[in-house]
């Protein structure tokens, strides 16, 4: 929990297998604190897998073996005394398909608080305040303040996705992982989510997996290019796109494959 740590996440010699298939090969990467890092690469290159390693949610899917080290804010998350619950509280994830829970908008936002605090600690006032703050932060408060008790699954997709981000905020996360958060959204929705990410930049470390190179170029500060489970190149975004060092990166960003 050291805010001056230059890197939010570092990995050392990270390997991962699904059964016998090796999905990550010797990944060594250091992702900056408080910035937006884009992860690009063709389908199946392991970028989502890597993202899921950062809060160890991979392990919930079964059949996963991991070796190596991942440090989140300086702490090795494979240390035996690390609580996965506390880890995931600090490192939240947003998915490709917005996945609000089938409960009200209000309950979606306070879901995390209810999970992590005993009932008596949660006064109505505290919950109300958390909802207002989180929804304001993602820019939904004005639209939804009179509709807090409608079912979250009935919102527009863009609102659902913002709500999924808002759901993480009351837990005061350090890192927000976004797995292709705009691929189910239209142009307007994509713009709204991108603007939101830029506003959250600085307060949270954002890591976004995307298929959309233009999107990575628009919003990320640094960019990681992956191929076949390996990190090929990791540089500042404009350098990666303008002067790629590796020919495979050059071919990919020019759209010759992928």
């Amino acid at each position: 929990m050291n805010p001056t740590a230059p890197h939010a996440i570092t990995t050392k010699g990270l390997n991962l297998w699904y059964g016998t298939f090796q999905a990550l090969v010797d990944v060594n990467v250091a992702l900056p604190h408080g910035l937006i890092t884009g992860m690009i690469g063709p389908s199946g290159c392991g970028k989502t897998t890597l993202l899921r390693c950062f809060n160890r949610v991979n392990e919930r899917y079964g059949g996963v073996t991991t070796t190596g080290e991942i440090r989140v804010l300086g702490r090795n998350i494979y240390d035996p005394d690390v609580s996965l619950i506390e880890l995931r509280k600090a490192v939240g994830m947003v998915f490709q398909r917005p996945n609000p829970l089938p409960i009200s908008v209000y309950e979606n936002v306070v879901f995390g608080l209810r999970i992590h605090h005993p009932r008596r600690e949660l006064s109505r006032a505290r919950l109300d305040e958390a909802v207002e703050r989180a929804l304001t932060e993602v820019g939904l408060w004005a639209d939804l303040k009179d509709r807090l008790h409608v079912r979250a699954t009935s919102l527009q997709l863009e609102q659902q996705q913002k709500l999924c981000i808002a759901r993480l905020l009351p837990l005061k996360p350090e890192v927000i992982l976004l797995d292709e958060p705009c691929s189910a959204l239209d142009v307007e929705g994509t713009r709204a989510i991108e603007e939101l990410m830029c506003e959250l930049r600085g307060r949270y470390t954002l890591i976004i997996v995307t298929h959309n190179m233009a999107q990575a170029r628009r919003i990320s500060d640094e960019c990681v290019f992956m191929l076949l489970g390996q990190i090929i190149e990791h540089r500042r975004t404009e350098e990666l796109f303008l002067h790629p060092a590796d020919p495979r990166t050059a071919d990919y960003v020019e759209g010759r494959y992928g």
């Binding site: 994830m93 398909r97 829970l101 879901f111 999970i115 992590h116």
Partner: protein, 327 residues
């Protein structure tokens, strides 16, 4: 296609016409003969109509036995069908009167067996679906569940006799019979519950995991509320099986005759034997001479109607819960 060379659009033929795949090189004369039924197509269409007819007939044939059974039963049972038939006790050596002791007995047996089987089955299914990883221990459990579902009811009866009546010393009693029925319904409850749990989208679970919810919190707050209608339906549908089975209770706790008061709902103690509808039907049909003709049919109608009523309730409940929970 090999004998039809690709034609470049020329100035005489418009590009659109000539570019069409399969347009005959003969020109406009061929256009009127396209897309007509050949003899082979007509044959295929005849087969199609015929196949459809056969399948429809088979599906429609399902209605016949149901209508025949219900109609025949009701017709034969008609002279006895009145509320008094349910409320009254059997009279004159079971040749006349009602079926109250059997009706209450079945209520006891079904109620108690579900009270045992439902919690165990649902909790086991939650474990198997939400917690179990793919290892040898859980595979053994799954194998056991599948095999238990395939055991014939007469074997369950023998097991119940050995395990509950003798080994556990419950004797021939409602308790023994209910537990036997419970074992019999368990695997089906587990299977239907797992199906209901699996129908909850994984995205909801992912959402919970990624804010740090434990598995139990995920189950409690999201999975169970969204699968409860399916779970309840699966459990309630087992009522009909438990109510209809004769062999398991015959070996463990059901008797031909038991004298209880007319309309008495609390007639049995759990360590006593009881009468049951399915058993009573067997008795009055095959074991007792000179039974009034409509009595067995009326018994069957009561059994069938009770089961259908319970199933209808299950469907109603499912619709109601599903309308409240929607994603």
């Amino acid at each position: 296609m090999t004998d039809v060379p690709f034609q470049e659009p020329t100035s005489e033929v418009s590009g659109l016409e000539a570019g069409r795949p399969g347009s005959s090189p003969g020109g406009a004369a061929g256009g009127g003969r396209r897309f007509v039924r050949t003899a082979f197509v007509r044959r295929k269409e005849r087969f199609e109509a015929w196949a459809r007819g056969v399948f429809l007939a088979m599906a429609a044939a399902m209605i016949v036995p149901l209508v025949a059974i219900v109609g025949h039963l009701t017709y034969e049972a008609w002279p006895s069908l009145e509320l008094e038939f349910i409320l009254d006790v059997p009279r004159r050596g079971m040749t006349e009167g009602g079926i109250w002791p059997a009706f209450v007995g079945t209520l006891y047996l079904v109620g108690l067996s579900l009270a045992v089987a439902a919690p165990i089955g649902v909790l086991a299914a939650v474990y198997l679906n939400e917690y179990a990883r793919d290892n040898w221990f859980n595979r053994v459990i799954q194998l056991a569940v599948i095999n238990l579902a395939g055991v014939p009811s007469i074997v369950h009866a023998l097991f119940g006799l050995g395990a509950f009546v003798y080994a556990a010393r419950f004797g021939y009693s409602i308790l023994s019979a209910s537990l036997t029925l419970a074992i019999m319904t368990l695997p089906v409850i587990i299977a239907s519950t797992r199906e209901a749990l699996a129908a909850v989208p994984r995205a909801f679970r992912e959402a919970c995991w990624n804010v740090g919810a434990t598995r139990w919190q995920t189950i409690r707050s999201i999975v169970l509320p969204n699968s409860i209608s399916g779970i309840l339906t699966g459990v309630i549908l087992q009522v009909s099986r438990a109510a209809g089975e004769t062999a398991p209770i015959m070996f463990t706790g059901a008797v031909f005759y038991k004298a209880i008061a007319r309309g008495d709902l609390f007639a049995y103690r759990l360590d006593e034997q009881c009468m049951a509808l399915s058993m009573h039907l067997y008795t009055v049909t095959t074991q007792v001479p000179n039974v009034r003709e409509s009595v067995p049919y009326a018994t069957a109608v009561v059994l069938l109607a009770s089961v259908l009523l319970v199933n209808a309730t299950a469907i109603g409940l499912r619709l109601w819960l599903r309308n409240r929970k929607r994603w």
